[in-house]
């Protein structure tokens, strides 16, 4: 069975007054039906740009897809008309944004905003859309959903607003849900509730998910597969369990080592990866992680290593692979 989403060799370029910045370079991955793919990476790693290019939500200009193919349900998204793409958004691909404070329109009631997409895509009348919206709010765990339909965004807490956003993304039962750091703006307990809620709803409906985060630990028991991105490239891709046990890329290993959990001792020095992520436009031809990597060899900064298959569904882009077939590393 063909995967729901195939992204092949995607490259995205931002052209601004400061110059040209290749935010995403030659990224390829797949998402199967009902599969949960985690994309993890630091700020400016290109993870959001990669995800937002799928439903054509990048701001153009300055952004421009300069190469690659995006096949959604065996249709080439880049070759679609703007009307077809609009029907893709909301109907077949739902998107949840990072900040629920700004992603809802503050002068309109949440119920109206929730019903909008359903009325447009599913051609429902007001009563039917209202009934389904109340159902959705109940599913995402909002108490007294019928009353909440009449609320304005400022009357809801951050967690509740994000639940509304998720309800809105799920409204037309899309095949793919793209969640761009949906829990980053929320506190930790709410974060866990939201992750659990999305996991159970999407599993019930056999919906595919792309979950973007910079918190690797969040993905551990949620994502089927995880994509590690850095400097606009894929560093490592593996089934999540494999990634946690046998990460081969020095960057992934560094991320795993810097996870702080309840086993971390009180007097223990926290681990961090030395250096800072590359600044826009300063990217190298070679491996973007090489300036911060302690295992680098001579060709690392000049030639980018290919993403090579090293195990079952496990791919790594590294010349050195210092952790290959060794015992689990890090904490």
């Amino acid at each position: 069975m063909t995967p729901l989403l195939q992204v092949e060799d995607l490259s995205v370029r931002f052209t601004t007054h400061q110059g040209v910045n290749d935010a995403v370079k030659g990224v390829s991955f797949e998402v199967g039906h009902g599969e949960v793919l985690g994309i993890v990476g630091e700020s400016a790693s290109g993870k959001s740009v990669t995800a937002m290019s799928i439903p054509d939500l990048l701001p153009t200009p300055p952004a421009e897809i300069i190469g690659g193919r995006i096949l959604f349900d065996e249709r080439d998204v880049r070759k679609m008309s703007s009307l077809e793409r609009r029907q893709l958004r909301g109907r077949e691909i739902g998107v949840v944004f990072q900040d629920p404070m700004t992603a809802l329109n503050s002068v309109r009631r949440v119920g109206v905003q929730l019903m909008e997409g359903m009325r447009y895509h599913l051609d429902l009348d007001r009563t039917e859309a209202h009934r389904r919206a109340v159902d959705l709010l109940e599913q995402v765990g909002i108490p007294s959903p019928a009353e909440r339909m009449k609320a304005y965004p400022h009357e809801l807490s951050g967690g509740m607003r994000q639940r509304v956003m998720i309800a809105s993304a799920l409204a037309c039962s899309p095949k793919l849900l793209i969640a761009d750091e949906p829990t980053t703006a929320l506190d930790v307990t709410v974060q866990a509730q939201i992750v659990d809620m999305v996991r159970s709803i999407t599993a019930d409906r056999d919906m595919s998910v792309i979950w973007i985060t910079h918190d690797l630990s969040l993905l551990s028991d949620f994502a089927d597969r995880t994509l590690v991105m850095y400097g606009g490239r894929v560093m490592e891709e593996a089934p999540t369990a494999t990634l946690f046990r046998h990460a081969e890329h020095p960057y992934t290993a560094g991320l795993l080592a810097s996870i702080v959990d309840t086993d971390t001792r009180r007097d223990q020095q926290l681990v961090s990866i030395p250096g800072t992520p590359p600044i826009h436009g300063a990217a190298l031809d070679g491996c973007p992680f090489s300036p911060r990597c302690s295992y680098g060899v001579e060709k690392c900064p000049s030639v980018h290593p290919p993403l090579e298959r090293v195990g079952d569904g496990h791919k790594v882009a590294c010349w050195v692979r210092p952790f290959a077939s060794k015992a689990p590393n890090g904490g």
Partner: protein, 327 residues
């Protein structure tokens, strides 16, 4: 369908603090109205304007006289019990003329603002939303027109329009001319004013839309597959409305002032239409013998302008509570 709840996920509780901070189900419009109600000068102004509007509409019922009915037995009388504000040089009741004059000032101002909004809002909205060359083109056009002082532009337009309309008796211009006659020369004024005053609104809306279109909720609306028209109408425009309403409220006294000025110069309403500007112009001649002929319409004009300005101030404070709290 409620499987999530049954799976034991804790439903989120709204914090008590937030429950205190906001009234349930209160939209931005109602919140603004509640703040406006606490503003005494704005409410007094609103009351005054309501009374004025009522008096203007009910003028034929409130006064036994007509605005152009001359009474040569009662020329240039001082205020008395039968003529509360006296009579002018032709024996016309001044109070009656002021009430009818309010009709002109108010209706011209309101209709004028509607026309201005109908031109300015779509142009500003579309120009900013689509941006690029189209925006550049529209904005340069606006810049050119903006270079004219508005009153001068209207005076020039009226000096051209007035004889053109007076001569026209057929075709499209003929229709406009006959409407102009029916409205006592005011349609011409309206056209000339709308031609120049929409610029401010277009610029204001453009500025709002330029920042609003970058907001994440617009991206989110896009992500639900909303069309451009829908995003503009449902998401951007409602958010841009507060400053537009404030600007319109301030635009009304400006339009009233301009009409009065044009009528004073003889370019606006045509006698015997009782425009306040015409009444002031006629009163100037009698400033020594019968000063109330000048003072009465002057006070009516001044009070109306003041009321609109107070109301505009109040609306600005009420609609944007972050700028300045007047209490």
């Amino acid at each position: 369908m409620s499987d999530v709840i049954e799976s034991g996920l804790p439903a989120e509780q709204s914090s008590p603090m937030e429950a205190v901070a906001f009234h349930d189900g209160q939209g931005p419009a109602r919140a603004a109205w509640q703040r406006l109600r606490r503003n005494r000068s704005a409410m007094l102004s609103l009351g005054f304007l309501a009374v004025l509007a009522f008096a203007a509409i009910a003028a034929p019922l409130l006064t036994p006289f007509t605005y152009d009915g001359t009474d040569f037995g009662a020329i240039a009388q001082s205020p008395s019990s039968s003529h509360w504000l006296g009579t002018d040089a032709l024996g016309r009741d001044v109070l009656t003329r002021i009430l009818y004059g309010a009709r002109i000032s108010l209706s011209l101002a309101v209709v004028g603002q509607i026309v201005i909004l109908l031109i300015g809002v779509p142009i500003g909205l579309i120009s900013a939303y689509f941006g690029g060359r189209f925006d550049l083109f529209v904005q340069r056009g606006i810049d050119v027109l903006y270079a004219f002082p508005p009153l001068l532009f209207v005076i020039v337009a009226m000096t051209y329009l007035r004889p053109t309309l007076d001569d026209a008796d057929s075709g499209f211009l003929g229709v406009v001319a006959s409407i102009d006659d029916l409205t006592g020369g005011l349609t011409g004024v309206l056209l000339a004013m709308a031609l120049i005053l929409w610029l401010t609104v277009a610029r204001l809306v453009r500025g709002q839309v330029l920042s609003l279109k970058e907001e994440e909720f617009v991206l989110a609306a896009n992500a639900t597959g909303a069309s451009h028209l829908r995003i503009m109408r449902r998401h951007i425009l409602p958010n841009a409305f507060a400053p537009v309403i404030v600007a319109t409220t301030f635009g009304i006294p400006a339009a009233i002032m301009m009409e009065a000025g044009l009528s004073f110069l003889g370019l606006g309403a045509q006698p015997p239409t009782p425009s306040w500007g015409i009444m002031i112009a006629e009163g100037v001649a009698y400033i020594r013998s019968d000063p109330y002929l000048l003072i009465a319409p002057g006070v009516a004009l001044g009070a109306t302008l003041l009321a609109f300005n107070f109301l505009g101030d109040g609306l600005r404070d009420a609609m944007d509570p972050y700028v300045y709290d007047s209490s």
